[in-house]
């Protein structure tokens, strides 16, 4: 357990969008049970997966996320009766769109994690982190963001340097 931790050349950034009633509580349970998982994940709490706009996923990729996890209550268990069903439909369509745009769907994962499934949360997060680590950084959307900035202000030092060189 306490063996020398392997050093990786690349640490992916994972953003998790979770619902407060099931997955957030499941992640809390993983904590109270002192389970261990990679520290790459950042959790954003929503009342319900139904609240999660696909735009947030795009925004996350744009802001440098290498992997995105969306997780909520199991079908039928939604605290808000049916929010997760709406989410499921929405993301089924959204995945198609992402695939069409050319995003590797392995970077985007949906899973149901209930408040009692601390172990599953650890499993899901660990799997996604390792999978994305193997895939390497996600650059496409960041470049898009940079292009957007180019038309406006010069934000990054690289761009400033390039500008000055002209």
């Amino acid at each position: 357990m306490h063996s020398e931790k392997q050093k990786h050349s690349f640490e992916p950034k994972i953003i998790a969008f979770v619902c407060t009633w099931c997955t957030y509580a499941g992640a809390d349970l993983a904590g109270t049970s002192r389970m261990q998982y990679p520290s790459n994940v950042r959790v954003l709490k929503f009342p319900c997966t139904g609240r999660i706009d696909p735009v947030f996923i795009l925004k996350a990729f744009q802001q440098g996320a290498d992997g995105v996890l969306v997780s909520g209550c199991h079908p039928g268990d939604c605290h808000y009766i049916a929010g997760n069903f709406h989410a499921r439909r929405r993301f089924a369509a959204f995945r198609k769109l992402l695939e069409f745009v050319g995003v590797d769907l392995n970077r985007l994962q949906f899973s149901w994690v209930s408040a009692a499934e601390g172990g599953k949360w650890v499993e899901v997060v660990t799997d996604l982190t390792e999978k994305v680590r193997a895939m390497g950084p996600m650059a496409e959307f960041k470049q898009l963001a940079l292009e957007e900035q180019w038309s406006g202000t010069i934000g990054t030092p690289e761009l400033k340097e390039a500008y000055n060189a002209i």
Binding site: Q36, P47, H86
Partner: protein, 665 residues
């Protein structure tokens, strides 16, 4: 400009062991907008909270981020503390650096970096938080109870005894439900009628209970504290106010051969009838389908003999609107009619057991009526076919229940116990008879239940055979039951005089339609879903609606009564205040942007979205926009993610807040 205060908690050593809290406070203190950052050993303790309050006042803080445990643990604590220092509680956020950070990572450097990012994220979020007022809605202190079985009766009496008015609606002509049909009840073998009928009379005489029998729910509108319920009072053809309950009409009615539903078709009733002698109200009802007067226009005998002139053939259905603040749903169960596959249902029938074809194959409820002293045989166990006393009787358990391949996977919970009771009742009445029971498992969890079951074997000589029956067929006047005894590993063949099937418990017919009227959720079997299986077992996810009894899942009488009293307690909790306070995490429509597509209305699970008309000063309609009723909104935010014009926002989870968090990463 915001002046944010950040308070990082050590949680004893729970956080500081893996997270360098001083470094977190120092780093976060440099973020724009953060005016004050500190760390403390126990933020949730009294000195910790005082530190927080003092800092708010001294540093003139506008927003607060507490980096500590999960918000599920202490968000309320800190929001209260912040409120007492004069800041709106919704301007305080918690950053979870314990459950989501220090407890799940070992590397101090990694955990510290993560903690800084988590706190940074919450700082960006809290900047966009808005002052949210507490929402209050008035409460109508009357309640509706749907279903007049033992669950509904118990709930109604409990609420009414507390001084609140109750409207009790029952579909059948009399209250009492299934419990009134039972002969004796396990595990004490006390007579069901003896404990049930006094309660029914209490309901009828209670000044705070308004009873609508032979009535159904037509429409439910409104929200917690403020429901408007339309009740359809079906035409009884007898004026309840005039009728004295003398029963002369029933004596004189010439149509006497209608199978009685109450007696499971074993007994007969007249066309003008009360379902059973102890009925409440004791007012007859005319069965218009079978009455000669309604079929041919002739007869009219009951009207002629009625002294007070209560019989009224012209009576029509009436619609009555009742305002109530809470609803208890107690619609109960029905037994699975196994002889055929219901149309369009996932459930397959049990044609192989000959129920409905072989007259001496009956279900458990029919056996109850046979054993009941007030039943069609006066309490004698007699075969329906020829009226002889059965000397060999076979009980088969788990008919319908626990059979995934047939469509029902759940256990009906009460059958093991009532079958044990049946063997006892049988043995008490037919001393030289022998009872056999085919069973899969005997499930007897409950006070004195297992002792009761053992008694049926050890003292009442019932023979239990572990195994299922494969086939049943009529041979002369016997029924041959073929099954296997898996404990011994042999095939068993019993020539029985009568077979009793312990058929599965199902929700009442029409349970799904009622659920849709109420806006509550139900599972694939049509049992109503509770808000939380363990912690909110009597509340629906829809606020202001509570569940009692077998409509939520199979239950025995003690469990049903407990749940009914629990539901009544929940109603009384709601009625304890004049105004209802609730979390202001609700959706709000930006009317300027709303195009009136009403996608939000389609996805709203609570029916909280209404159509609002915008008119000019001449009263001309300009356009129709969405309006979210804050009393009904549950705060899921599905509308916001659906809105194509981004014109609806969930307070506390606005796009601005979320995007600020993502951008902070």
């Amino acid at each position: 400009m915001s002046r944010i205060g950040v308070f990082v908690c050590h949680c004893g050593e729970n956080i500081s062991r893996t997270v360098d809290v001083e470094r977190v406070a120092a780093q976060v203190g440099k973020l724009p907008g953060v005016a004050f950052a500190t760390d403390y050993k126990y933020m949730c303790s009294d000195p910790g909270q005082n530190l927080l309050k003092k800092a708010i006042i001294e540093q003139k803080l506008s927003h607060v981020v507490v980096a500590a445990c999960s918000p599920r643990m202490h968000e309320r604590t800190f929001r209260k503390a912040v409120e007492s220092a004069g800041i709106n509680p919704f301007l305080c956020e918690m950053a979870n650096i314990r459950e989501h950070c220090s407890w799940v990572h070992e590397n101090r450097e990694e955990a510290t970096v993560k903690a800084i990012e988590i706190v940074g994220m919450m700082v960006e979020r809290v900047k966009k938080n808005r002052v949210l007022p507490t929402i209050t809605v008035p409460v109508t202190k009357r309640s509706l109870v749907i279903g007049g079985g033992i669950a509904g009766i118990q709930a109604a009496l409990d609420i009414a005894d507390c001084g609140h008015e109750v409207v009790l609606v029952e579909r059948e002509p009399s209250i009492g439900g299934h419990m009134a049909q039972l002969s004796e009840t396990f595990p004490t073998l006390d007579c069901s009628q003896c404990i049930m009928t006094p309660k029914m009379v209490d309901v009828a005489n209670h000044p705070k209970i308004k009873l609508y029998s032979y009535s159904e729910i037509e429409l439910v509108e409104g929200y917690i504290g403020n429901f408007q319920v339309t009740i359809r009072k079906k035409a009884r053809s007898v004026d309840e106010d005039k009728c004295t309950g003398c029963g002369l009409c029933m004596e004189k009615c010439p149509i006497k051969k209608i199978p009685s539903k109450f007696d499971c078709n074993l007994g007969m009733r007249t066309a003008i009838y009360v379902p059973f002698p102890q009925a409440v109200p004791n007012t007859p009802v005319i069965d218009r389908e079978n009455c000669t007067k309604f079929k041919t226009g002739k007869c009219g005998l009951c009207q002629k003999v009625c002294g007070p002139g209560a019989v009224d053939y012209e009576q029509e259905d009436r619609l009555i609107v009742e305002p109530v603040g809470a609803i208890v749903v107690a619609t109960g169960f029905d037994l699975y009619t196994i002889n055929e596959k219901p149309k369009g249902s996932m459930i397959k029938g049990y044609g192989e057991f000959g129920h409905g074809k072989i007259p001496d194959v009956i279900d458990g409820m029919t056996f109850e009526r046979l054993a009941s002293a007030s039943g069609p045989t006066g309490g004698k166990i007699l075969r329906p076919s020829d009226g002889k006393e059965p000397k060999q009787i076979v009980f088969i358990q788990c008919i319908g229940s626990r059979a995934r391949e047939k469509g029902i996977s759940y256990c009906s919970k009460v059958c093991c116990m009532y079958t044990a009771k049946h063997t006892m009742l049988y043995h008490h009445k037919v001393h030289d008879g022998q009872a056999y029971v085919f069973f899969m498992d005997a499930r007897t969890p409950g006070k004195s239940y297992d002792e009761f079951w053992r008694r049926s074997i050890e003292e009442e000589e019932a023979v239990y055979i572990r195994g299922m029956v494969s086939r049943l067929y009529q041979k002369g006047d016997k029924i041959v039951v073929m099954g296997s005894d898996i404990a011994v590993g042999v095939q068993v063949e019993i020539e029985a005089d009568m077979v009793v099937l312990a058929t599965a418990i199902q929700p009442q017919k029409g349970a799904d339609t009622l659920a849709q009227k109420l806006g509550i959720s139900y599972d694939k079997y049509n049992f109503y879903s509770e808000a939380h299986a363990k912690l909110r077992p009597v509340e629906c996810a829809t606020a202001g609606i509570y569940l009692a009894g077998a409509c939520q899942g199979p239950k025995d009488i003690p469990d049903t009564v407990s749940q009914a009293s629990a539901a009544a307690a929940k109603v009384m909790t709601l009625f304890a205040k004049d105004q209802l306070e609730r979390e202001p995490i609700v959706a709000r429509v930006r009317e300027a942007g709303c195009v009136g597509c009403f996608y939000c209305k389609k996805v709203c699970p609570y029916g909280a979205v209404e159509e609002k008309e915008i008119r000019d000063r001449q009263g001309n309609l300009i356009r129709v926009v969405a309006y979210v009723n804050p009393g009904v909104c549950g705060g899921c935010g599905t509308c916001q993610a659906t809105c194509p014009s981004k014109s609806v926002e969930l307070d506390g989870y606005t796009d601005e807040q979320i995007v600020a968090m993502i951008e902070a990463l």
